[in-house]
């Protein structure tokens, strides 16, 4: 039986280097019903990143105009760059029953929850502090001082994990993906997501 429901807004977030991008990609491969919301940013593309696919790469002026006109679900300054989620795409998709996933930083995630309390916040956590350091070092994309700055931030960010709805420990990507899929299944069983079904018994 297929019960008609509004889409879920899933927010995947966590400290830099925790592997949330990897979890997110694996999730999208395993859950074809999910759609990724593309974020906007003012930072420069990294090698291989494509405009409109990985991010919308915007000029600072354009981005600030979008903030002013309320066209962003959330935005944040991260390492001197602006990041944000264009609102209209998300709203329309949810109304059509499409589940949407955002992969954003912690500041952005908490902002989404404030503007859209039904959003489901999932904190992707490293299994341990030592593991996070290892990941950041092995990624090799960043200078040593950037890594140290990120590690320092991560400690503070872990304290925000209990503002989230769920915490998924990224020990093995496959297991983390299974846990996020379970969260999706469980959330679709929430009474507030089944109002039309319950109404059919009146």
């Amino acid at each position: 039986m297929k019960v008609k429901q509004k889409g879920l807004l899933l927010v995947l977030s966590g400290p830099s280097g925790v592997g949330k991008g990897t979890v997110c990609r694996a999730l999208l491969e395993n859950e074809p019903s999910l759609r990724l919301s593309v974020s906007a940013t003012t930072r420069s593309p990294r090698p291989g990143e494509i405009d409109g696919v990985d991010y919308f790469f915007l000029d600072d002026n354009v981005f600030r105009k979008m903030i002013a006109s309320g066209e962003l679900l959330e935005y944040a300054v991260v390492y001197n760059h602006l990041y944000g989620t264009p609102l209209p795409f998300v709203q329309e998709s949810l109304e059509n029953g499409q589940d949407i996933i955002l992969e954003i930083d912690i500041q952005g995630a908490l902002q989404v929850k404030e503007k859209y309390p039904q959003a489901i916040l999932i904190f992707i956590s490293p299994p341990s502090k030592g593991d996070l350091r290892k990941r950041l070092l092995s990624r090799g994309a960043d200078a040593r001082e950037v890594i140290e700055k990120r590690l320092c931030c991560a400690s503070g960010e872990m304290k925000l994990a209990d503002h989230y709805d769920y915490i998924v420990i990224n020990d093995q990507v496959k297991k983390a993906v299974e846990q996020v899929r379970s969260v999706i299944t469980a959330e679709k069983c929430r009474p507030h997501n089944l109002k039309p079904f319950l109404g059919s018994f009146d």
Copy 2:
């Protein structure tokens, strides 16, 4: 990675005839880590039911003494008989990290939530009113007037579904079991169930 956690108290409940017993049995087969809490009752055993396995079959006097001494997590009168959940077994299991499942009626479920708010209430719902009638008739265990009384109760009971944490529509037993398993996985990812893990980052 195995994170040490307190056990979950799962409460499976729903209108009579919805098939919650079937879902519960299939769940226990698929989830060996779950343990069923055996209820106490003053009703007579049905053919094939075993004392201490299906229920603790108790005299009315004994049951009332347990109520008076606070030895029950919940109890209720259903069709002129007393049903209840002996508390010490449940408490000890949860402290040892053992997940426990209760299969009880709706009055009992709401009572458990009051006494133990961390309990996870799952409402097993029929896919439709018509389907519930069909199930009660085909069970053939009860007189026609008992069935009509149960159907009448079920309408009122459906209105209590939104006091539950989750609603699982029992359309196919296999799918219902998968949904309950997802609820278990998701609930283990709740921040309040991961306090010792989060503390390890301080």
